[in-house]
């Protein structure tokens, strides 16, 4: 095989491209990963590393159960620590309405044997020592959710691809995808042309743009989200705290380093490719964090940044083949790409090699109606 020809070209070296490429390389296919900047430049490197199974959509729950299984086995698979830590997720309720929402989502999650339960404010305080219990009615707690290091996981997958005869090309910006008789044929970058009968669009925020190169219109639009990280300190508590109020936030203490890292969902949203950090966020986020856990107020913020959630109309990803033969898409992760990545990579490798997946992904299909929104976004 020529050194510009592969079995599969994956565009994008975030978690989706890295995991998908790895599971394909493991099936003995020669994989090329093309990345326009460097691995984790896009959403993966800007995410805070949370991993949860607490969803309402049955497919998302099943995908995440598989992902958690994979995350817990990656240290062994990579021969290095990806900092997987099942410290749980705690979704807080500050109103009867929010509490009732969680009680009904827990009913759904129990059908999938998730060990989620609604715990009292006192129990919340046992798990998160020093949490502000004023107005707190309790929370939905799943102890088998957790976190991992997005860089370690993504670079780990890419390293394995290289060991399995694949290649990762950085600073390789795709400008054109050539087809022949409605079949994917080659990909043109600033570093040259690469040939493969299978091309996978794993470009996150840029998935719409890259799909247009083969004449497809996919409903994926980026939105700006911001994050910050504090200095490290001794371990204070284990779970990701999620406050769904309109002025809420979510944050977690990084298991590997001890830094606190968090975000909030801006209201209204910020559509577009803008990834500049704002002064509004760096003053507002500390207010929201210290309102939930007042003892954090002496910690210092060391860095803030912004990244994109790549949104679809219903808050669920698009993972599918397309009307162009050999051209696949796995994008539109809506802020859940890191945690969905390992399982979706595995399923995409099945789709490419066998034409079907061991878990039916119909609800993530490209031609779905986009009507059924995820309640735990």
């Amino acid at each position: 095989m020529k050194n510009n020809t592969a079995d599969v070209i994956v565009i994008g070296a975030g978690i989706i491209g890295a995991a998908t490429g790895y599971y394909l390389a493991k099936k003995k296919l020669k994989v090329y990963v093309l990345e326009k900047e460097f691995p984790c430049f896009g959403s993966t490197g800007r995410c805070i590393g949370g991993i949860r199974q607490q969803y309402t959509h049955p497919l998302s729950i099943n995908v995440m159960k598989e992902s958690v299984k994979i995350f817990s086995s990656l240290n062994k698979e990579f021969g290095k620590d990806i900092e997987w830590f099942p410290g749980g997720y705690l979704f807080l309720a500050h109103s009867e309405e929010q509490k009732n929402t969680y009680l009904s989502t827990i009913q759904i999650q129990h059908k999938f044997n998730l060990p989620v339960r609604f715990i009292s404010a006192d129990e919340c305080n046992n798990i998160v020592n020093g949490i502000n219990t004023e107005g707190l009615l309790g929370g939905a707690y799943c102890p088998t959710d957790g976190q991992a290091n997005p860089f370690a996981v993504t670079y780990g997958y890419l390293q394995r691809i290289k060991e399995l005869n694949g290649k990762v090309f950085t600073n390789s910006n795709v400008s054109k995808i050539k087809t022949s008789g409605n079949k994917a044929k080659s990909v043109i970058t600033n570093c040259g042309e690469y040939f493969a009968p299978v091309v996978i669009n794993a470009t996150g925020s840029w998935a719409k743009h890259v799909s247009k190169m083969v004449g497809l219109d996919v409903p994926i639009e980026p939105e700006r989200h911001e994050s910050l990280v504090t200095e490290a300190c001794e371990r204070l508590f284990d779970p990701m705290l999620v406050d769904y109020r309109s002025d809420g936030c979510y944050f977690i203490q990084n298991y590997g380093t001890g830094h606190f890292i968090g975000c909030y969902t801006p209201v209204p949203n910020n559509p577009g490719y803008d990834r500049r950090a704002s002064s509004e966020f760096i003053t507002e986020m500390p207010r929201r964090m210290s309102r939930l856990v007042p003892r954090l107020k002496e910690l210092k913020v060391i860095r803030q940044w912004a990244g994109s959630y790549e949104m679809t109309p219903d808050g669920n990803p698009i993972v599918d083949k397309t009307p162009v033969e050999g051209f696949y898409i796995s994008a539109g992760m809506c802020g859940h790409g890191f945690m969905f990545g390992p399982a979706l990579g595995k399923y995409m490798s099945e789709l490419v090699t066998t034409g079907k997946t061991s878990l039916p992904l119909d609800d993530f299909a490209l031609n779905r109606s986009f009507g059924k929104a995820e309640a735990m976004k």
Partner: protein, 92 residues
């Protein structure tokens, strides 16, 4: 420098660890940062970024002027959550 010299003091990354990833083929500061966390600690790379750039230049032959420096991000100095949360902008 001895190979066990600490280059990134905040994250305690040694010269040896940095050289190892360069030899594995990671030839940009952005990749080295994400692999090792150097420059992601309390000082935000003020102490180590240029030293790592120099090591990268020596090991790969890239001139210093061609090495892309990692993005500097706010705040300039660490600020406590308490101080930030009490901040009121002049526009309010």
């Amino acid at each position: 420098m001895k190979q066990n010299t600490i280059i990134c003091r905040c994250e305690e990354i040694t010269e040896k660890e940095i050289i190892k990833v360069i030899e594995q083929g990671y030839h940009s500061l952005d990749e080295i940062k994400r692999l090792l966390r150097c420059g992601m600690g309390h000082c935000q790379g003020r102490s180590c970024t240029m030293i790592i750039a120099r090591i990268l230049s020596q090991k790969t032959g890239q001139p210093m002027s061609k090495i892309k420096i990692t993005t500097s991000r706010p705040p300039l100095k660490p600020i406590s959550i308490k101080v930030l949360s009490e901040y009121k902008s002049h526009e309010e």
